[in-house]
């Protein structure tokens, strides 16, 4: 018996999936979720083998939801129309169903999942999440999980990012949040006119900078509105000067 979770904000869209699943008695729908928040909880609680996931959902998208889960299960995406998502799916050979889809197409997706099972799909899913972070809508915000709470941070509210082992600390007005990502990931996905990698371990929001002071030899330090000081390396100083037009 395999466990299934369906995550879609439209009740009828979930019922189609359930209906098509009746032909596959070895698959059991353990929970249905109307948004990504419920989805995160359900996945943590039930550890499903496969999820059906919509992209456009309230508050957070399907991609953002996957980012919050440490070891995402196998995913079959269901979406009606999203040019960016479809490009991402194709690039990473993840199976997806374009709504409306019929039983045949649905069965094929399940068969594909049955063949591949976990290993391949997991890697493809990770790559997909990486590339989805480059979508225009996701560059505007960062979704983090703080215990059981999910927080959506607008990039404009971010002071700076700091590397911390396998995590990145996202510093904001309300303190910092941890996200299981690399600095390179953020450097790539954030708007390069707004965020500059000032140092190997720091990315700073240029709109928060009030002044840049010299600090020891060859180094500088950026002083933010909040009073925080962010190290600036020699190459970082060059990049900052470019963006600020100095």
């Amino acid at each position: 018996m395999n466990k299934i979770v369906i995550i879609d904000d439209e009740p009828l869209a979930r019922s189609v999936v359930k209906e098509y699943l009746q032909k596959h008695p070895h698959l059991e729908v353990i929970q249905e979720c109307g948004d990504g928040f419920e989805g995160v909880k359900a996945i943590q609680q039930h550890q499903p083998d496969l999820i059906f996931l919509d992209i456009q959902m309230p508050k957070i998208t399907g991609f953002e939801m996957l980012e919050l889960i440490e070891q995402p299960p196998a995913v079959i995406f269901t979406t009606a129309f999203d040019e960016f998502a479809i490009k991402a799916f194709e690039a990473h050979a993840v199976d997806y169903l374009l709504k409306p889809f019929n039983q045949d197409r649905f069965d094929k997706a399940l068969a594909k999942w049955n063949e591949q099972k976990t290993a391949v799909t997991e890697k493809a899913t990770q790559e997909l999440i990486e590339s989805a972070a480059l979508s225009p809508s996701q560059r505007q915000r960062i979704v983090v999980r703080n215990g059981s709470k999910i927080k959506i941070i607008s990039v404009h509210d971010v002071f700076f990012l700091e590397a911390a082992d396998d995590y990145v600390k996202i510093h904001t007005q309300e303190g910092y949040f941890l996200k299981n990502k690399t600095m390179a990931h953020f450097e790539q996905s954030l708007d390069m006119h707004l965020f500059v990698r000032s140092h190997r371990s720091y990315i700073v929001n240029v709109q928060q900078i009030t002044r840049i002071d010299p600090y020891e030899k060859d180094n500088h330090v950026a002083v933010l509105r909040s009073g925080a000081k962010v190290p600036v390396s020699r190459s970082g100083y060059g990049k900052l000067k470019d963006v600020l037009g100095l």
Binding site: E10, L12, A13, S15, P58, K59, A80, F81, P100
Partner: protein
């Protein structure tokens, strides 16, 4: 091809009358210099018929060739050349026909310089008038072409704005129908009907067409019914319309994208039930429509609420009224308000 100024009867009469006056004047002047009437009249007739041909030639040339910039020198040269040719030709003809008259040859020789300057001046004048006439015609044509092009561009833009039906909406609606077919076929059939009526509405209505608020609301209801099937209990609507506004007019299909924007913003930015409120009132001479949707001020800025839908509405109203202030938005706590004002024709 541009019409010659002589194609207008008024100008033709003026032209012929001037020519007759000049001819009479010419004859009288010669008679005054002691030529008998018949000789004077023949002289005038020969000179002025030839001159008339020269004038018509200049006008015809300018009709096909309008000088630009440096080319005015060519026109000047043409006038000069024509005057000289005219002078030589008329001198030869006059001598041939009227040379028998005693003293005529001498008078002709003495008057050559006067004949030349008069002819050159008159021909120059005719040339100038023709150039003015044709360039003004050309300008008018250009303006008309520009106006036509602008109108076509505007119509095309309006058409495009109206056609931007959201594929997301269409495919999700089809997906809902797909779901209903298995479990509740009667409802599926009803939704197919609603979707068809809705789509027909977007195709049928002319962009420039104005409809009453009541008609627009009927159309909106089709859209709302479909969305309610899609989102189930999550979506609720409240519509409050002043009695006085139902007959007021607005451009067709204007309301739906505004409400669509509000629904998307409301549904995707909050969790739980979303209530969309629509109010209409008459303020001064405007139909004022307010659409309210909830949003989460903690995670999104009201700026995000002015998505594509509102921009196209704003653009449409600008094209129709040449005003940019007819769509405004505001945020009050967790409610986002879109206000549209539609000026009424007096």
């Amino acid at each position: 091809m541009a019409n010659s100024p002589l194609s207008i009867i008024k100008f033709r009469i003026i032209f012929i009358a001037s020519w007759l006056i000049i001819m009479a004047d010419h004859a009288m002047l010669l008679h005054f210099y002691a030529l008998p009437w018949d000789v004077a009249i023949y002289d005038s007739l020969i000179s002025n018929v030839l001159f008339l041909l020269a004038c018509l030639l200049v006008m015809t040339v300018l009709r096909y060739y309008l000088p630009r910039g440096q080319q005015y020198i060519n026109v000047f040269a043409l006038c000069l050349l024509l005057t000289i040719v005219w002078l030589l030709l008329s001198k030869w003809l006059l001598k041939l026909f009227l040379g028998y008259q005693a003293g005529y040859t001498e008078l002709l020789r003495n008057s050559l310089s006067i004949r030349f300057s008069m002819a050159f001046l008159l021909l120059g004048f005719i040339t100038m008038v023709s150039i003015l006439w044709y360039s003004q015609l050309e300008q008018k044509e250009q303006e008309e072409r520009k106006k036509d092009a602008e109108k076509m561009a505007r119509d095309a833009e309006l058409f495009k704005l109206r056609q931007q039906l959201q594929p997301h909406f269409l495919f999700n609606s089809l997906n809902s129908i797909n779901a209903l077919i298995g479990s509740r076929p009667a409802e599926a059939r009803k939704m197919v009907q609603q979707l068809s009526d809705f789509l027909r509405g977007t195709i049928k209505k002319e962009e420039t067409q104005w409809v009453t608020l009541q008609e627009e609301l009927q159309y909106l209801q089709l859209y709302l019914d479909i969305e309610k099937v899609r989102f189930g209990n999550r979506l609720a609507t409240e519509i409050e319309i002043d009695e006085a506004t139902t007959a007021l007019k607005l451009p067709a299909l204007l309301l739906q994208p505004i409400v669509e924007n509000a629904i998307k913003f409301g549904l995707y930015d909050t969790i739980g039930e979303t209530i969309i409120k629509i109010y209409a009132a008459k303020v001064e001479n405007n139909l004022v429509i307010k659409v309210l949707n909830p949003f989460d001020p903690e995670t999104s800025s009201p700026r995000q609420g002015t998505g594509f839908g509102l921009k196209s509405v704003q653009r449409r109203l600008y094209l129709l009224f040449a005003r940019n202030d007819l769509v405004t938005t505001e945020a009050k706590e967790n409610i986002f308000i879109t206000i549209v004002r539609i000026p009424q024709k007096l």
